[in-house]
């Protein structure tokens, strides 16, 4: 299928002259900045057409996201699920695996953490040092298993992973609903469709009193660094990239496509699930139907804007975290629905496709 890194290579042709002087600057700064400013302007125009003041809206968002220590802390907190799911998508897309299932994997991680936090933790000694690592490990396992299902279906039965992961997302959504709405994980009082809060010794502690910054943010950043190392400095990473660039060539070089598909799907699922578990353990002690506002889908925009580079994903996740935080200010101060962030994400994605598209560059260079 269409491969983003390769198309950026083609983009190089167009920028050849500047590139010869500052190749990295164009590739990593100019193009993303162009995408972002284009998206902000387009989004601003739509906001304007709807009768709001875009400048007022953007400044309200910026102010609340970065204007104070508490705001920055909140932005970091909001960025964490975007980073975890973004990494999950980035690593899968790198291997040429179109994993649209981060949403379901995220939920399964949260569900396993809920199960552990409400049912198992009470049987264990009351210590965070044992409970938290166990809970995170369980989430990794749950996500790995949920991720390996589409991998096995793809490898053994040739099932397109786009379709199977979308279906698995809905199975996960209904499964979570099954568990917390009438099922065994529903709160003891049986009043609403939500679970009991997890035991406090499974919760991730807050690092500061004033805002909700938690150690999960650190875990996510460290994982991004590790993944960068794995992707660019190890044989496993080389295999992932080789399979992603061309399955047939990789197979000819002796790398098993099937093997890598299973490994990477497993890893991708585990990352998303870990994100779900961290989100639950650090922020919302209860699992409810509205737990994820579509992190798994936004993750696609996060990863593609970062050009599938784990380190750059930190930056794009931060941007989406700030947007998400800022959208509340836009709603409160300017009156725009906070779902405007979805529109923003969509426009960023369309700009990425537009600029990454092979044809534009080929046309211009051939003139």
């Amino acid at each position: 299928m269409y491969n983003l890194p390769a198309s950026y290579q083609k983009g190089k042709l167009y920028y050849k002259k500047i590139l010869e002087k500052y190749p990295r600057l164009v590739q990593w700064v100019v193009v993303p900045m162009f995408i972002l400013s284009g998206a902000f302007i387009t989004n601003g125009l739509i906001i304007l057409l709807c009768g709001y003041n875009p400048i007022q809206a953007y400044s309200a968002a910026l102010n609340v996201s970065f204007g104070s220590i508490t705001g920055i802390g909140e932005t970091l907190v909001k960025s964490t699920p975007f980073l975890m799911t973004g990494l999950s998508v980035a690593i899968a897309f790198r291997c040429g695996i179109w994993n649209i299932g981060a949403e379901g994997q995220f939920l399964m991680g949260a569900l396993s953490a809920t199960w552990f936090g409400t049912k198992i933790a009470t049987l264990l000694p009351n210590t965070s040092w044992i409970a938290i690592p166990l809970c995170l490990t369980l989430a990794v396992l749950a996500g790995g298993i949920w991720g390996v299902i589409p991998a096995i279906l793809k490898v053994t039965r040739g099932v397109n992973e786009v379709i199977s992961t979308i279906m698995l997302n809905y199975i996960a959504i209904h499964f979570v609903s099954l568990m917390i709405d009438g099922g065994p994980l529903q709160e003891a009082s049986k009043t609403g469709p939500q679970s009991d809060p997890i035991a406090h010794w499974v919760s991730l502690p807050r690092l500061f009193d004033s805002h909700r910054v938690h150690p999960g943010i650190g875990i996510a950043v460290v994982l991004a660094i590790i993944l960068t190392f794995v992707l660019f400095r190890t044989t496993f990473g080389y295999q992932i990239r080789a399979v992603g660039e061309g399955a047939a060539a990789a197979e000819a070089a002796g790398f098993s496509v099937a093997h890598n598909t299973i490994r990477v799907f497993c890893l991708s699922g585990a990352l998303a699930a870990l994100g779900g578990a961290i989100e639950l353990m650090a922020l919302t002690p209860r699992l409810s139907d509205s737990f994820s506002p579509g992190y798994g889908y936004t993750a696609i925009a996060v990863a593609l804007l970062a050009k599938l580079h784990p380190l750059l994903t930190i930056a794009t996740a931060l941007l989406f975290g700030a947007l998400s935080k800022g959208s509340f200010a836009m709603e409160a101060e300017v009156g725009i629905s906070k779902q405007v962030t979805w529109m923003m994400q969509a426009i960023i994605l369309l700009f990425v496709i537009g600029l990454g598209s092979v044809q534009i560059f080929q046309k211009r260079t051939s003139k």
């Binding site: 299928m1 269409y2 739509i46 906001i47 709807c50 009768g51 709001y52 179109w98 649209i100 279906l153 039965r157 099932v159 397109n160 786009v162 379709i163 199977s164 979308i166 279906m167 698995l168 997302n169 809905y170 199975i171 959504i173 209904h174 499964f175 609903s177 099954l178 709405d181 009438g182 099922g183 579509g294 889908y297 936004t298 696609i300 925009a301 593609l304 009156g335 725009i336 629905s337 779902q339 405007v340 962030t341 979805w342 529109m343 923003m344 994400q345 969509a346 426009i347 994605l349 369309l350 990425v352 496709i353 537009g354 990454g356 598209s357 092979v358 044809q359 534009i360």
Partner: protein
């Protein structure tokens, strides 16, 4: 409620619930047969739902025509969204999965922003003139089945009539053959003089229009108002239906009924307090869809060139 009433009620609810899915899925069958996987179907339905409601709202001076004008708005808004999809997917040859995700996100944001701007958030949703159910003379008097099959709004009947139309078009016309060839082997059909990009664009526009109308059904017939995110995953369900129906209009009809049945049971089981949780019925079609794909319940092959951008100059 006695048993016969319950039976009639569930059967009628199945057909009503299946209709928007069926309309959207029929469009999707055509576009997937042409090799374009339209994941933006959810977004197109949502936009259709909003514009359908707006059309009926602004035409409320003409109560008889209002729902039809709404439906027209819904179809056209779906068509425009599909045109945006086509520009990126066919003209720029971007990845269809990413474009589809973008379209869905765009619709989620845009519909909410526009709706909130026009009607605010406070109070109950703005209601509009909608399609009314009517009894088909004579036929609706048939005992047991009459009420279930012949007491619906007009769109339900149109949707069911569309099934054989799409089937005949795809499998018994030359144009249909060309479309199917586009999805299997675009190079071959291009060699014999067909314009693959044009055919795919047309199919995509058809799919968008149908998705828009399917969405419009939700705000013009199912309920007489729009609420943000009211499609609630129906677009993705339509996608599952296409696969479960093995890319065949007749089987897609059956699959839509199965999902409609799931919805019908969902509403009734929540109230009934029986031992089985309703979520099982919501999950079942997705599990069945996966099983079909994996070949456990009859093998289904996706069109060979599905999701692959076509470059005419290669």
């Amino acid at each position: 409620m006695n048993f016969i009433e319950l039976f009639e009620d569930i059967l009628a609810a199945t057909i009503r619930g299946a209709t928007p899915l069926l309309i959207a899925a029929l469009g999707e069958v055509v576009s997937q047969r042409a090799g374009v996987i339209n994941i933006g179907i959810e977004g197109m339905m949502l936009i259709g739902a909003l514009f359908g409601m707006l059309g009926s709202f602004y035409a409320s001076g003409l109560p008889f025509y209002a729902p039809w004008i709404g439906l027209l708005f819904a179809g056209v808004s779906g068509l425009v969204t599909a045109a945006l999809f086509a520009y990126f997917a066919i003209k720029l040859r971007g990845d269809q999965v990413v474009i589809g995700t973008a379209i869905t996100l765009l619709a989620l944001g845009l519909t909410e922003v526009v709706y909130r701007r026009l009607f605010g958030e406070t109070g109950s949703p703005q209601s509009v003139v909608n399609f009314k159910e009517f009894d088909v003379p004579v036929l609706s008097q048939i005992p047991l089945l009459g009420k279930a099959f012949f007491s619906h709004n007009i769109i339900v009947f149109i949707a069911i009539l569309l099934v054989p139309c799409v089937y005949l078009f795809l499998f018994h016309t030359q144009q249909g053959l060309r479309i199917r060839a586009c999805g299997e082997h675009p190079k071959a059909i291009s060699t014999v003089g067909s314009n693959v990009s044009l055919l795919r664009t047309m199919c995509l526009l058809f799919a968008g229009t149908m998705a828009g109308i399917g969405g419009g059904y939700l705000s013009l017939a199912d309920v007489p108002y729009f609420i943000p995110e009211m499609t609630a995953g129906r677009g993705f369900i339509a996608l599952a239906i296409v696969i479960f129906g093995k890319w065949h209009p007749m089987k897609v009809f059956g699959a839509a009924l199965l999902f409609g049945f799931g919805f019908a049971l969902d509403n009734r089981f929540q109230a009934s307090g029986l031992g089985i949780q309703y979520q099982w019925f919501l999950m079942l079609p997705f599990v069945l869809g996966l099983a079909v794909l994996a070949g456990f319940v009859g093998r289904a092959e996706a069109p060979l060139a599905l999701g692959k951008p076509y470059n005419p100059s290669e």
